[in-house]
């Protein structure tokens, strides 16, 4: 038993920290905050030049074969630096999926530009009528010779407005049971018939609705078998679960402590001396450590060759619910000024905690709601009978 993340991890951590210190400017952070587009092409290409976009991959696929401890350090440092990496995350999920189940042609065409940081892929699973019930998608794809004609609508197609491709879960056979009639396509976003409309969110981030009217896609863009979309989805979800595991709460606590050291009460005493402030620090630190450990456990299972299904759900459930609770509690401790946001002069911690309060609300939803995670844990982890 060894909790060390390993020497290689620590070496790489320092390198990553230096990289972000150099490339992640306040200007980038500000632009991200103002536009809500959590991606920066310059930074992304710089990561590509470093070879870090898929650093864990085999050398033959353009990777650096970095071990789990290094990858954990990479994502931790990116989160701690507040790097805008939503595009990196979605794109790598699909790159991984293509690498495992894509055609050789797809691999050749897609993977090199992805790794160079020139191409982003957005996720098109959710539809207005389907959320937790992912398999109930209605988007139709109908075969027409060598092509497929796609009609329908997707929501929460985050970064579609910056991406070159979108991966679409479509219904190709409406006659069979809902999981059996799905097919996945990787669709270039510059095809005729595609429309992208922004959706603005509580956290300030922009996402999109995307509309597809008679979009003609060549069969070579099909990923996996016809009507085998649910299997592809299973592969993609595996990568989704292992990639996430944020450090936003650590950053949150750091900013809170910074604030408490500087702020003073009506009598001029540092607020760091106040009992509720200190209790909040202790509570948050405990949650953060448990979040860290549950994430490490999921990563360790993956690194040991396992599929961290239950472990991933536990990590995600704990982290996201505690992130919400912590942000809310920290505001309660700060008091009336806590509601000031980053645009207001003198906002505590430059509005970071207020933003976290808003932003954290999405954590218990995307990538599977907390209810979905609890269901997975109950059924697969605890072997409880199926939910009614």
């Amino acid at each position: 038993m060894d909790f060390n993340t390993g020497e290689r991890g620590e070496l790489f951590r320092r390198e990553v920290r230096e990289f972000f210190a150099e490339h992640l400017t306040d200007e980038v952070r500000q632009r991200v905050r103002e536009t809500g587009t959590v991606h920066d092409w310059k930074l992304h290409r710089a990561l590509g030049e470093k070879g870090w976009l898929a650093a864990s991959w085999p050398v033959e696929y353009g990777g650096q074969e970095r071990e789990a401890s290094e990858m954990a350090a990479f994502y931790e440092e990116a989160a701690l630096a507040g790097a805008p990496f939503d595009g990196l995350l979605t794109t790598l999920i699909i790159a991984n999926t293509i690498r495992h189940v894509g055609s050789d042609e797809q691999k050749r065409e897609i993977i090199p530009p992805i790794l160079r940081g020139e191409v982003l892929v957005a996720l098109g699973y959710s539809e207005p009528g389907s959320g937790s019930d992912v398999a109930s998608v209605r988007m139709r794809a109908v075969r027409d010779g060598d092509e497929w004609v796609i009609d329908g609508e997707k929501v929460f197609t985050t970064l579609a407005h910056e991406s070159q491709y979108v991966i679409l879960l479509t219904r190709t056979d409406p006659e069979v049971s809902k999981h059996a009639g799905l097919t996945m396509f990787l669709v270039p976003l510059d095809l005729p018939g595609i429309e992208i409309r922004p959706i603005h969110t509580l956290g300030g981030e922009r996402t999109n609705s995307t509309f597809y009217a008679g979009v003609r896609v060549h069969d070579r863009w099909r990923v996996g078998e016809v009507n085998g979309g649910w299997d592809v989805m299973g592969v993609a979800l595996t990568f989704e679960r292992t990639v996430t595991g944020g450090k936003e709460t650590v950053r949150l606590l750091e900013r809170f402590v910074e604030w408490a050291r500087e702020a003073t009460d009506a009598d001029g005493r540092p607020r760091l001396e106040e009992a509720p402030v200190r209790e909040a620090i202790a509570r948050t630190a405990i949650r953060n450590e448990v979040s860290y450990l549950l994430a490490q456990r999921a990563n360790w299972v993956a690194a040991s060759g396992g599929l961290p299904g239950v472990e991933g759900s536990q990590s995600r459930l704990f982290y996201t619910t505690r992130f919400q609770r912590t942000a809310s509690e920290l505001m309660d401790v700060i008091g009336p000024e806590a509601v000031l946001d980053h645009n207001a002069e003198g906002a505590p911690a430059s509005g970071h905690i207020e933003h976290a309060h808003r932003h954290s609300q999405v954590g218990t939803i995307y990538g599977g709601t907390s209810e979905i995670q609890r269901g997975i844990i109950a059924r697969r982890g605890l072997k409880l009978p199926s939910a009614r």
Binding site: G131, G335, E337, A338, D341, I365
Partner: protein, 353 residues
């Protein structure tokens, strides 16, 4: 014990409810962001007579008690109305109560009718000559607050919604200079502190009413969504993971409503428990409003996170209003101090006056 509203109370609630339903739509609430003030809506409330309800009849008011006012604050909160009803009502009650307030009350009654004036209470004593983050401070023509040993009223031009520091709930807060404009000392020394505390308690009760309204509407939105939204072939409200949590919220919403009403009633009855009940009502309504909005938002799934849906408007205001007075722990300590000054049993939950 009679939990039914009186006939007059019901009639005014119906009138106000009709106005709000028609005028204060979610679009209107959005349009008032980020300044948080809609002058036309406020004018409407003035014309309905509710803005000045707490004034004496001789001044054109209705001599409304705190319960009458709080019962109006509830639907006003339910609609997230961008108009300073709670703030103005708090100050008018104060002016009616202190001798030095009479002349100001006369004058305000006039400008209320003519110009839809706004009054407000600075919730925290002035620090270095400034009242910080005064609710409705951006639009208030009259600001009452505690400055050192004096309870002062400042008749001064408001800085306007352009002065509002960008904030979570689009509240029209603003800092106000404690020495600006025409300054009247309403009370001094202990009398000032006593009057200020009483005004704060009124504000707590009215705000508890406002937050109860918010909580109730947020719950209704969540229930409606859970009833109509289907996943896995059934409405999501049929899942215990959803329905049981909404049942918890509804229980707390009922509790918050009863508590602010009891607090308001006890003020009108002149009961010494009023202070304790006001403190309890504000804290409980704050907690309930936040929980209701959070749960309801969560059950919206991804849509709850979008600005297109209304529930985020509730979510953002619940926290903002809950934090308007102070951090949470000092509020608990204030309440504990009041409880422990009392005579034990009567103050900690037997009720019955």
């Amino acid at each position: 014990m009679d939990l039914d509203l009186g006939e007059d109370q019901q009639a005014i609630r119906d009138a106000v409810g009709g106005f709000l339903e028609k005028e204060v739509t979610p679009e209107r609430v959005r349009d008032a962001e980020p300044g948080g003030f809609d002058a036309e809506v406020w004018r409407g409330l003035v014309d309905l007579g509710v803005a000045g309800m707490g004034l004496a009849e001789s001044r054109g008011g209705m001599d409304g008690g705190l319960l009458d006012l709080a019962l109006i604050a509830e639907p006003i909160g339910a609609h997230l109305t961008p108009a300073p009803f709670v703030e103005t009502a708090t100050v008018l009650r104060l002016l009616e109560r202190v001798d030095a307030g009479a002349a100001l009350a006369d004058r305000f009654a006039e400008t209320l009718a003519s110009d839809a004036s706004v009054a407000t209470l600075a919730l925290r004593p002035a620090r270095s000559g400034t009242f910080r983050l005064v609710p409705a401070g951006a639009v208030a023509d009259l600001v009452v607050g505690l400055d050192g040993d004096d309870l002062v009223a400042l008749d001064a031009a408001p800085p306007g919604v352009g002065s509002v520091p960008s904030n979570l709930g689009a509240a029209p807060v603003s800092d106000r200079d404690a020495n600006a404009g025409e300054r009247t000392v309403l009370e001094s020394g202990d009398a000032a502190r006593t009057a200020f505390t009483a005004a704060l308690d009124d504000w707590r009760v009215l705000t508890a009413g406002w937050l109860s309204g918010l909580a109730d509407r947020a719950l209704a939105i969540g229930v409606e969504y859970a009833t109509s939204r289907e996943q896995f072939g059934v409405p999501i409200g049929s899942f215990q993971a959803v329905s049981h949590r909404l049942a918890d919220v509804s229980t707390e919403v009922e509790g918050a409503r009863l508590l602010y009403r009891e607090a308001a009633w006890s003020a009108d009855e002149g009961l010494p428990r009023m202070g304790v009940l006001a403190g309890a009502a504000y804290l409980f309504a704050s907690e309930t409003a936040q929980k209701s909005a959070e749960e309801s938002l969560h059950f919206h799934g991804g849509y709850g996170f979008t600005l297109e849906y209304d529930i985020q408007l509730f979510f953002r205001r619940a926290k903002t209003v809950a934090l308007a007075l102070d951090a949470q722990t000092p509020l608990l300590h204030d309440l504990a101090g009041r409880i422990l000054q009392g005579s034990g049993r009567d103050l900690i939950g037997v009720g019955g006056g």
